[in-house]
């Protein structure tokens, strides 16, 4: 019985769909909120706060599952990241327009390949950074609040003579 509920939940999740950053009309709000005399900040959201009408919560049935049935395969995903980044970036030189499209394409490709692994009940976040190598220094860091028993991440950094690429995949179990 719980299998049917599990399938239903997985299908519901999949039907929810994924937002493609390729179609950037999804980024709706963009406001400049701070401007001190020596710093400036811009904010962008997926949806504007207060914009959405409160929606009915969809009650999912109990699955009586305490943890994930199938864990997220970190090593497989590491290989996927390595594969995708090397294939797309090996020969490229840094160019603003090319890399802008490239980051969006790569993140979509990685998401599609991770989805193909069909790990049930996991939400996926893929973040790709591509930057120019110009003798500048930079630091990229992230922290997460989640359940370390079921949630995990995977990461790969690629470098060639003119650019670097970093891909992070976070997998969060949907209880």
């Amino acid at each position: 019985m719980s299998d049917i509920a599990k399938d239903k939940a997985a299908r519901l999740l999949k039907k929810r769909g994924s937002v493609s950053s390729l179609s950037s009309h999804e980024v709706r709000a963009k406001e400049i909120i701070g401007k001190n005399k020596d710093s400036m900040s811009t904010v962008s959201y997926m949806d504007e706060p207060g914009h959405e009408i409160p929606r009915l919560a969809i009650q999912l049935e109990n699955t009586y599952q305490l943890g994930p049935a199938k864990r997220f395969p970190v090593v497989t995903v590491n290989n996927i990241l390595k594969d995708v980044l090397t294939n797309y970036l090996q020969e490229e030189k840094y160019e603003a327009e090319l890399c802008r499209q490239m980051t969006k394409t790569i993140s979509e490709v990685i998401k599609a390949r991770v989805k193909d692994l069909m790990i049930p009940r996991y939400k996926i976040i893929v973040i790709v950074h591509i930057g120019q190598l110009n003798e500048q220094s930079m630091r990229i860091g992230s922290r997460c609040i989640w359940d370390p028993a079921s949630d995990t991440f995977s990461s790969y950094a690629f470098k060639n003579t003119s650019l670097f690429g970093l891909a992070n995949v976070y997998a969060v179990y949907f209880e």
């Binding site: 929810r16 701070g34 997926m46 980051t103 976040i125 893929v126 630091r139 990229i140």
Partner: protein, 113 residues
């Protein structure tokens, strides 16, 4: 009967995430010039402050916060993210902050449990 719940309070967007991120950035690095020796501690403190303010809200959400700090050197940087989640309850917020010597980009993702 199953109660009907209006999910207003569970929507990620209603958590005013941008102000938390912004205040974390300002307190950690506002008014400073880029310093290689300090950048490690800055990224850590920005991310930890944002996360702790988000957790104080006490919502049933898992959070992922990413911070990029880059020296201003004429180099370009592109970032994209692709997410597979429930559009009705999950969301993200990105704050781009800059001053004369560096850029700081903080992205916060929230996923409903």
């Amino acid at each position: 009967a199953v109660p009907n719940m209006y999910v207003c309070e569970y929507l990620f967007v209603n958590q005013n995430v941008s102000s938390h991120s912004n205040s974390a950035i300002e307190s950690a690095i506002g008014g400073n010039a880029y310093q290689h020796s300090k950048v490690n501690q800055w990224t850590t403190s920005v991310v930890e402050q944002t996360l702790s303010q988000l957790t104080k809200l006490g919502k049933p959400f898992k959070y992922i916060v990413t911070c990029v700090i880059m020296q201003k050197n004429g180099a370009g940087l592109h970032t994209a993210s692709s997410c597979f989640w429930d559009n009705t309850s999950d969301g993200n917020c990105t704050v781009r902050w800059e001053n004369k010597t560096m850029y700081c980009i903080v992205s916060a993702f929230g996923l409903a449990i």
